[in-house]
């Protein structure tokens, strides 16, 4: 328990920043909806004049026009997923590698605890941080939708189902970050690694949407957890989501065993 508490307190600042910025971004973005819905016809007409492939790159699809609250929320969520992915990747790359990078491993690993305990404590500390952000995000999403919907109908059931998938989406990124961090000798810069993973996967997803290629949608968690699918169908896209879940489980298992066997580098 002591490591868990210590790790959470180490992430304190990070938790604060992410909880303020990500849900804050959502509120900020959603606050524009009344203005857009006021001129929804003109807006939709403008969208229709654009190439659907171009729009698809931004997650805008005809079934969910952004002049309507659900469509606008879909667009917002599509963007919100990027910082969420970066946060999760950041923890994934950071949480295990930090001890070696900052050379504190000699302190922690020479204590009378097993590596199993270290990895589990650290995992749960990161998970706690993610969940705090996710819970705040969920609450504020509902608040924002209620506040800005005007006289439109919001399918809150679908919204909740979508938001429930966010922790799994994040865990997928975190697991990939973790397995990479224990596979390589040293994570030199956590930020560039996590930006690359978080953004890279988004770009792959955009490509996939533009090319309407099914192949890309298999690769990136952004498409597995596509918000439009959930908001339209009211359930997760199991046809794709299992790929992320499998990757996540495999990554965590691999991380666990690689970390147990790892030689801790010194200066």
């Amino acid at each position: 328990m002591n490591i868990y508490k210590f790790e959470v307190s180490r992430l304190r600042k990070s938790i604060l920043i992410w909880t303020l910025s990500v849900p804050g971004f959502l509120i900020f973005y959603m606050a524009f909806f009344p203005a857009i819905s006021g001129s929804a016809d003109a807006f939709n007409a403008m969208m229709e004049s654009m190439d659907p492939k171009f729009l698809a790159a931004f997650g805008i699809i005809p079934e969910l026009p952004i002049g309507e609250i659900m469509g606008y929320f879909n667009l917002t969520m599509g963007l919100i997923l990027i910082p969420l992915a970066i946060q999760a990747s950041n923890y994934g790359f950071h949480i295990l590698s930090v001890e070696e990078r900052e050379l504190t491993a000699d302190f922690l690993f020479t204590k009378p605890i097993s590596r199993r305990k270290i990895i589990i404590s650290k995992f749960f500390a990161a998970l706690t941080s993610l969940l705090i952000v996710d819970i705040v995000l969920t609450i504020l999403s509902i608040v924002a939708l209620t506040a800005f919907k005007g006289d439109e109908v919001v399918e809150f059931r679908n919204v909740i189902i979508l938001l429930l998938s966010v922790p799994l989406f994040q865990l997928t990124f975190m697991s990939i970050g973790m397995v990479i961090s224990v596979s390589i000798k040293k994570v030199a810069s956590v930020l560039s690694f996590s930006m690359a993973l978080g953004f890279g996967m988004y770009v792959v997803n955009s490509f996939g949407s533009v090319l309407s290629s099914g192949l890309f949608s298999y690769i990136t968690p952004y498409s597995h957890f596509d918000s439009a699918y959930v908001l339209i169908n009211g359930h997760w896209n199991w046809g794709l989501i299992w790929i992320s879940l499998t990757v996540m489980v495999c990554s965590f298992v691999a991380t666990y065993f690689l970390y147990l066997k790892r030689n801790i580098a010194s200066l």
């Binding site: 900052e102 504190t104 009378p112 605890i113």
Partner: protein, 290 residues
């Protein structure tokens, strides 16, 4: 009883040798020196004992238990002071020590206070604001706060001023008197001589010899350097002198034996400068294997 038993411990980093066939025992209550030049494999050996790294072959047991398999249990009674001290920078010394203490199944608060007083360590400061020497002190307190039965010191004195060094040595002696076994790795022969009963000499990853400290003290080599005029007269070519290099204005040699003989010789010379130093470890090694 043996506290540490190495059994053909070998560690390779890929193709690079870390240490090979380390095979010796450290008895309970000993202060055991582990000396060798930088990169000889001292730290590698120690890191295997703490299961920071895993041996390629062979094993090491501590308190009669395999140090890898029973790692957490064994480490309950080990205090470790690494050569380079790195802690969570943002923390206060006090918080770090309390965090460290939280890993042990006993109350260490009184001991922390006591050790901090001995080492004159300010507990309220932030670690990132500490000098190298003060960080080292944190390391010392951190390593001893749970009154370990085995203390592993990896080049512990770097950064400590001579006064603190003495305090630290006294502390180690006291711990030792109270029953703790000490493994003291260093590349400075004189400090090992001060403290240890026996030493293992390691070079290129292999143990060259294990010596009683008395015999090393007996082989008390000094390196002499004299500067002056017309020194190349062969006066220093006496018993106990080796590696003699004479020039007109400078003469250097290693000497083992009665120093009065040297004093007698130099009294008849006109010198401008004298240096008498501990020979480097390399030089000592050469003597063992000449």
């Amino acid at each position: 009883m043996n506290v540490i038993e190495f059994n053909k411990l070998t560690k390779y980093y890929g193709k690079a040798k870390g240490c090979e066939n380390i095979d010796f025992n450290v008895k309970e209550g000993e202060i055991f020196g582990f000396i060798g030049p930088n990169g000889a494999g001292k730290s590698t050996t120690i890191r295997c004992m703490l299961s920071l790294i895993y041996p390629t072959s062979g094993s090491v047991s501590i308190f009669g238990k395999d140090a890898i398999k029973y790692g957490p249990e064994v480490r309950e009674n080990i205090g470790y002071l690494p050569s380079e001290i790195f802690y969570y920078d943002k923390m206060k010394v006090k918080d770090l020590l309390n965090y460290s203490a939280s890993f042990y199944k006993k109350d260490c608060s009184a001991r922390i206070k006591e050790l901090a007083e001995i080492m004159e360590l300010d507990l309220t400061r932030k670690i990132e604001d500490l000098s190298l020497g003060n960080k080292k002190k944190v390391g010392i307190v951190q390593g001893l706060l749970h009154s370990p039965k085995l203390i592993i010191l990896d080049e512990p004195t770097s950064g400590l001023d001579p006064l603190m060094q003495q305090k630290f040595f006294n502390l180690i002696r006291k711990e030792n008197k109270n029953g703790a076994t000490v493994l003291f790795s260093s590349h400075i022969l004189s400090e090992v001589q001060q403290l240890c009963n026996r030493v293992a000499i390691i070079k290129d990853g292999e143990i060259l010899s294990i010596q009683d400290i008395k015999s090393i003290k007996h082989d008390n080599y000094k390196r002499f350097t004299f500067r002056g005029k017309s020194l190349d007269n062969g006066k220093f070519d006496i018993d106990g002198v080796s590696q003699l290099k004479e020039r007109e204005d400078k003469v250097t040699f290693l000497y083992k034996g009665d120093v009065n003989k040297i004093v007698k010789i130099i009294s008849s010379l006109k010198l401008t400068d004298i240096t008498i130093e501990e020979p480097t470890l390399e030089e000592i090694f050469m003597h063992y294997y000449e």
